[in-house]
Amino acid sequence: MKEHFKRNMHQYRLLALLGILLIVMGFLVPGKFLTVRNFRNMGFQMAEFGILAIGMSAVIMTGGINLSIVNSAMLASIISSFVMRAMYDGGNGMAELPCIAIGIVVTFAVALLCGLFNGFFVAYIGVIPILVTLGSQTVFDGVALNITRGSSVSGFPKLFQQIGMGTFLGIPYTMLVYLVVILVAYLLIERSYWGISIYMVGGNEKATRFSGINTRKTLMGVYVFSAMMAAVAGILMTSRYNSARADYGSSYTMQAIAATVLGGTSITGGSGHVLGTVIAVAIIQVVSSGFNILKINRNFTDIAIGLILIGMLAIKHFVDKEKMLARK
């Protein structure tokens, strides 16, 4: 028990910070912040960003980075939107449900291609991840802009909006999807053989390869996993905004990296927890929503999140150093 607490110190600190933030916001916006309505509102918003952040975390745990995660989400959404619109044909074509099902399959298929593209260059050609994904960011974005000419695509079945706006027993569907994604990601990354190999690759790729693990497969898997997260997030976003456009969510890329690092994942790889990222996403959401409700200039939101990130990392750094010294 004590060992567990020690190992996950950073996550408990984050949890404590989240609690403090909730209490402070509750004071600052009395009777409005700590309400079912606001939690539902934050639940609607948090899912798409949280899922992207989990997709980013898995890649960063291998010591890589995925700068094209949002772009692959949007490219997949745009293509599936075109497909859905064509098949639905304003109500004259296919029935709503099969049309949406095909749309979802197309989203996953396109995202899979994006993931294989990134994974191929990183795992099999050996190009540095930041270069590969910076390049693919431009490629995916370019393709998306070209086929849409910069405008948004909409006109799919009304029912599709329900994914992003509907609730089950008062809980947003998006939140339920997010919870399932968290569980799956936790099992895959922290409780599976492949998951262990992610940390090993992030720690020391060469040593891992020589110990008989197929590091290429591990890396390829990570980029595909990341792309699948992008697909899920893309579906939620397309539904919530009732349209798809090349630049939706463009601010999520850097935020997802920030959430990963705030969650305790080392930017050089080899460590980190899914739940750390999830708590970090919740912290960013509470600050962002709280400041919006308080109508504070959006620049201060960015500043506050930046300060929280630096503060928490500084604490982590000093505590880790002390631990190292104590061990000696």
């Binding site: 402070v24 004071f27 600052l28 916006v29 009395p30 409005k32 912040f33 309400t35 309505r37 606001n38 509102n41 609607f44 918003q45 798409e48 948004s152 909409s154 909006q161 992003g164 706006m165 976003m237 919530r240 905004y241 009732n242 349209s243 456009r245 630049d247 939706y248 969510g249 463009s250 601010s251 999520y252 962002s288 929503s289 919006n292 409700i293 308080l294 109508k295 504070i296 200039n297 959006r298 620049n299 960015d302």
Partner: protein, 324 residues
């Protein structure tokens, strides 16, 4: 810990005081905050709030990301607002969020950029394209000092829809009202760059020695044209009129190489948005209301579109009054 609690307490007190000061809350949301154009409209919106004694919040995303705008709208609804005037980054993406506002009884309007017609009660637009197009021709004729002669058009991109609309109105008006004016060649593109407009104008001056006037569309075009006229020392023989930002125009207006700059004042646009929201919420008559510094409001036949007024004109005398 005690200090922290005390600090929190003080903050709560401060914030609850500001929150209680006014009853009506109008939110004006630009596409993004922190660029000169939208900083100027912020000044107007906040000034209107003070004049009317209502609570005006000017807030928007730090990047032009439509997703962020949607989140901000949803969050603002939690606190309860009375009106939202939005310049949407994308009309489709904000549509579900705006519908939520309407369901909550919030007055929704758009300003600067139009939203989907079903999502807004009022649509506040900066200018009437026809008025702007015709005004440019009148000002050119005035600066040339004659209603006949050769003139040329320098535009931003040949594909820009808004610029082409203005050019079409200008050409049609010139042909009808001033038959003596001859357009020497098709509009020349300057790629939204003053440098390119300068190069193109130099070429025009060389090719058409009798050129008496230049119309510039897009904000850098008239500046580039004026740079060329200034360099050639032709201030007195070639008139330059176009759509430009006042701070960019000031040096050229003062030495006569640019005769008139025309555009709308974004601060007036912010002000108008707040006034329309206020009038609607208080149930007052909007049509014909005189907004101080902006003029009377006129609602178009569609019952929704409000066009701010005639474009503002910058001259050597008044240009220093504008700070954008």
């Amino acid at each position: 810990m005690k200090k922290l609690l005390a600090l929190v307490f003080v903050l709560v007190m401060l914030l609850s005081c500001t929150a209680m000061a006014d009853d009506m809350t109008v939110v004006v949301m630009p596409k993004l905050v922190g660029i000169p154009y939208f900083n100027a409209s912020e000044i107007g919106a906040l000034a209107a709030g003070e004049e009317l004694g209502i609570n005006v919040i000017y807030t928007g995303p730090t990047t032009g990301d439509a997703a962020l705008q949607v989140q901000m709208i949803e969050d603002l609804l939690i606190d309860g607002i009375d009106a939202l005037a939005i310049a949407p980054n994308d009309p489709d993406s904000v549509s579900p969020a705006l519908q939520k506002c309407i369901a909550d009884g919030v007055l929704v309007m758009d300003w600067d950029t139009t939203a989907n017609a079903d999502d807004v009660t009022y649509s506040i637009q900066q200018i009437d394209n026809k008025v702007l197009g015709e005004m440019l021709v009148d000002l050119l004729v005035e600066s040339m000092g004659a209603d006949e002669g050769e003139y040329a058009i320098v535009t931003g991109y040949l594909t820009a829809a808004n610029l082409n609309t203005w050019i079409d109105y200008s050409k049609a008006y010139a042909a009808e009202k001033y038959p003596g004016l001859t357009l020497v060649t098709d509009p020349v593109a300057s790629d939204e760059s003053a440098q390119e407009a300068y190069t193109q104008t130099m070429a025009l001056i060389g090719a058409y020695p009798n050129l008496k006037g230049i119309l510039g569309y897009s904000t850098p075009a008239p500046i580039g044209a004026a740079m060329a006229v200034q360099e050639k020392g032709l201030q007195d023989s070639i008139a330059v009129v176009g759509t430009s930002m006042p701070t960019d125009s000031a040096p050229y207006l003062k030495d006569g190489s640019l005769d008139y700059g025309v555009l709308w004042d974004p601060s007036q646009l912010g002000k108008l948005a707040v006034y329309v929201a206020y009038l609607n919420l208080t149930g007052a008559e909007i049509e014909g209301y005189e907004v101080p510094g902006v003029g009377p409001i006129h609602i178009n036949e569609d019952g929704r579109t409000i066009i701010m007024a005639d474009p503002s004109v910058w001259t050597a005398e008044n240009v220093d009054n504008y700070k954008f």
